[in-house]
Amino acid sequence: MVKSSSLALAVLLAGLSGAAIAQDKPTLTIYTYDGFASEWGPGVPLKEGFEATCNCTVNWVAADSSIGTLRKVQLEGEGTEADMILGLDTAIAGEARATGLFADHGLDMSHLDLPGDWMDEQFVPFDYSHFAFMWDTDTMDTPPASFEELIALPDDIKIAIQDPRSATPGLGLMLWVKAAYGDRAPEIWEGLKPHILTITREWSESYALFLDGEADMVLSYTTSPAYHIFDADDHTIKAAMFNEGHFPQIEVAGILKSSGHQELARDFLAYLTSVEGQAHIPTTNWMFPVVDLGDALDPAFQGLPQPEKTLTLDEAEITANSSAWIEEMLAAVQ
């Protein structure tokens, strides 16, 4: 009796000390958007890969959108659990920077392979793609090769786009038109108006409209066709290349000043931008990696057409004007 109870006590204590050891492992809490942390996203393999080396636990916290992650941290203020935010993009990086919440990462980014050089003290890029309109070879013979050609198509050719106020690609399209046409942007939007089937809240709804054959084209990414090639060897969905050039989406991660795990967060960013970490990105997030993976890049991505020209806008200009530009766009398509 005594024996068994002391045995039980020993087991219990062992269990407790095991729990205590588990408690000693630091936890790296990363806020990201829904899709990244979902079971199909890159969150799962990245967590596994990093935990194998770091003696820590990676804890993904999913917000409903990338801007949602930033808002969540702003609302939580000093008491936030987040050590870093992953999934902001270059269109909202300026606003994020202005909050003063982000620490310098201090990492060397010279090995990266991106359209344009990457010089950023706070943010580290982890994938990129260009915005583009998708078309379906089964229903369209020749895709438009510019915004003007798209506008010149018959009115019954419809496109599905996203609301710039709620969806990252929607904001990207608005910036794309602005970067390509500047003050002529409202004119382009007025021309597009008859072709707009609808403006959805998120990317998913508009893409579903395109796949269902409701819309002839949809605003998505140059890398979207890779999913269909990879998933079902389906080569019918292609990105239309525009002469004006394309606006990129570069997704970034940043460490919060308030984090107690600065060192660990830096290690994670180093892993995220290493060849090993990057190898997980293409076939889970359907974007291009930011390092040259060589033959390790899935063949679905190898033959994708790339824009001749990458358009850019100055970050400060985006931050100062994006609200006014959104209003200008909405007024033109109203």
Partner: protein
């Protein structure tokens, strides 16, 4: 004037709950204001235009849905056919199915590439301009959601017309129109203001459907502006201002509805109707039934068809699917029981209130939640949880259950309120002469008579929770996901086939709950079966 049994306890409890719900809403708004710092000034949204558009859309939705609901309920009440229960279940299922699912089902029938257009192409080589986009698309989707729900609730009222009245009407040889005007209409009238208010508010605050089918910023609602203020501009004070605007407008609608809801006159269970309407009217009833089935059932059937053809086994083999299913069922079940408690307290209190003013006040909390924009509500809950010091992960299930209960409350009260009122008014004398206590009254009289209605209410609340995408979006994590959230995540990861399967399964669960729960609870309650 009849005197109701004196039940001060019931009125007191309902009053306390009403106050608690009011305090919660104030706390939510207060939490957001307290968190507001110097944000960017909101973009200059044309509020007047948004309000005009929203009110027009919601008003049209309400009128159309009530009209369609009355016609369908009338036809369903008169007709008996195999599969009628399934049709009734399907009708009720529409309103609690995630809006996205219904909208995509609608598009697969009415869309540019929908069945109707494909058939027209094949037969006549022409295709129509799709009615599924713009204002007409929004109205179509809303009427499918709300009209079917209205039909379900109104059918319950028609089925509760006492046998004796029908016999009397039959012996007076009333024609179909007289029968509707003299017998059906008084039974329906009591439910219309409340139902109308619910439908107006639902349409007023509708967000995903309006954005998906609206065609652009011309058809947007105030809810979109609030979302923008919170997300894009981070102008929390502006968001609260807009939310208050919305609450003010919705409150007017709520007050009108609460003040004008007359107590219903009757309660019983309909026997098989031996009284049929004459030939031409019967043809009309069958036509309404057929149109209703095509209009309401086809979009849902197309969801089932797309889903079950999309690789059912692949989804069923995913462990995460089963985890999400269990989470959904636990959340749905808890929130259904909580809703039942809240709805009973409020409805019992309201039915016992003798003064009109008291009835009006106690009718308000039913709708309160509908008036508060979802994005503001989830944000406020998030801040309240945060300031209480509970980790968000631990509080998530509780918050989701409470929020979902409040969301289903208006529907629950629309279901339970009228029969409870009817019991108080028709059986008040009996209750007083028996000298029953409040508890005795509930156990011996109300509960047995309400079995079927409680079942319907549980099904509604359960499925509302099952289909909710609003609150879970802010509190969901990798480990805590419900079926709709999983569906939406699949859609966002290019997995549209998986999303279609989950949508179909959600719909099957929903219909099963609607067909099964009312019967089950009625059996448990030992209500006399006929």
């Amino acid at each position: 004037m009849l005197t109701l049994p004196h039940r001060p306890g019931r009125v007191a409890m309902a009053s306390v709950l009403t106050a608690a719900i009011a305090v919660l809403i104030v706390a939510v708004l207060w939490a957001i204001l307290a968190a507001a710092r110097e944000g960017a000034e909101s973009s200059r949204i044309d509020i007047a235009h948004l309000l005009r558009m929203t009110a027009l859309q919601a008003g049209l939705t309400m009128v159309l849905s009530l009209g369609v609901g009355i016609a369908l309920a009338w036809a369903l009440n008169r007709l008996r056919f195999t599969g009628r229960d399934l049709v009734v279940g399907l009708f009720a299922a529409a309103i609690v199915t995630p809006g996205m699912v219904v909208a995509f089902g609608l598009l697969s029938i009415w869309g540019r590439n929908g069945w109707i257009n494909q058939i027209a192409e094949a037969l006549f080589g022409v295709s129509f301009d799709s009615p599924a986009y713009g204002l007409s698309g929004i109205l179509l989707a809303h009427v499918i959601l709300d009209g079917a729900f209205a039909a379900r609730i109104l059918l319950a009222r028609l089925d509760a017309i006492p046998h004796s009245r029908l016999k009397m009407g039959q012996s007076l040889a009333l024609n179909a129109w007289q029968r509707f005007a003299l017998i059906d209409w008084p039974a329906l009238r009591g439910s219309l203001p409340g139902l109308g208010a619910i439908i107006f508010l639902l349409a007023f605050t509708s967000f995903p459907i309006v954005l998906l089918l609206g065609g652009g910023p011309a058809n947007q609602t105030l809810e979109v502006a609030i979302y923008t203020a919170v997300r894009l501009d981070f102008d929390l004070a502006g968001a609260v201002r807009l939310a208050l605007t919305q609450i003010a407008i919705c409150s007017i609608v709520i007050l009108i509805a609460s003040a004008f809801t007359p107590p219903p006159a009757s309660l019983s269970h309909s026997a098989q109707p031996s009284w049929r309407d004459a030939g031409p009217v019967r043809v009309l009833q069958w036509s309404i039934m057929a149109l209703g089935a095509i209009g309401f059932a086809l979009p849902l059937l197309s969801v089932l068809y797309d889903g079950l053809a999309g690789g059912l086994l692949r989804v069923l083999a995913q462990a995460s699917f089963w985890r999400a299913t269990v989470t959904s069922i636990v959340i749905g079940g808890s929130s259904a029981l909580l809703t039942l408690g809240l709805a009973l307290i409020l409805s019992l209190g309201r039915s016992a209130a003798e003064r009109r003013a008291a009835r009006t006040v106690l009718g308000i909390p039913a709708f309160a939640y509908l008036a508060v924009p979802a994005v503001v509500l989830s944000l406020g809950f998030f801040l309240l949880v945060r300031s209480s010091g509970v980790p968000a992960g631990a509080a998530a299930p509780i918050v989701v259950v409470i929020a979902n209960s409040l969301l289903s409350l208006p529907f629950a009260i629309a279901t339970l309120g009228p029969p409870l009122d009817a019991i108080m008014r028709t059986r008040g004398k009996l209750i007083r002469s028996l000298g029953l206590s409040g508890w005795g009254q509930f156990i011996r009289i109300e509960y047995p008579l309400l079995g079927r209605d409680i079942g319907l209410m549980l099904a509604l609340a359960f499925c509302f929770s099952l289909g909710d995408l609003g609150v879970i979006a802010l509190f969901g994590t990798q480990d805590f996901q419900t079926l709709p959230l999983m569906m939406y995540r699949a859609l966002g990861s290019y997995k549209s086939n998986d999303a279609a399967v989950i949508a179909a399964l959600l719909l099957i669960f929903t219909i099963a709950a609607f067909v099964g729960l009312p019967r089950l609870v009625e059996r448990i309650a030992h209500a006399p079966r006929r």
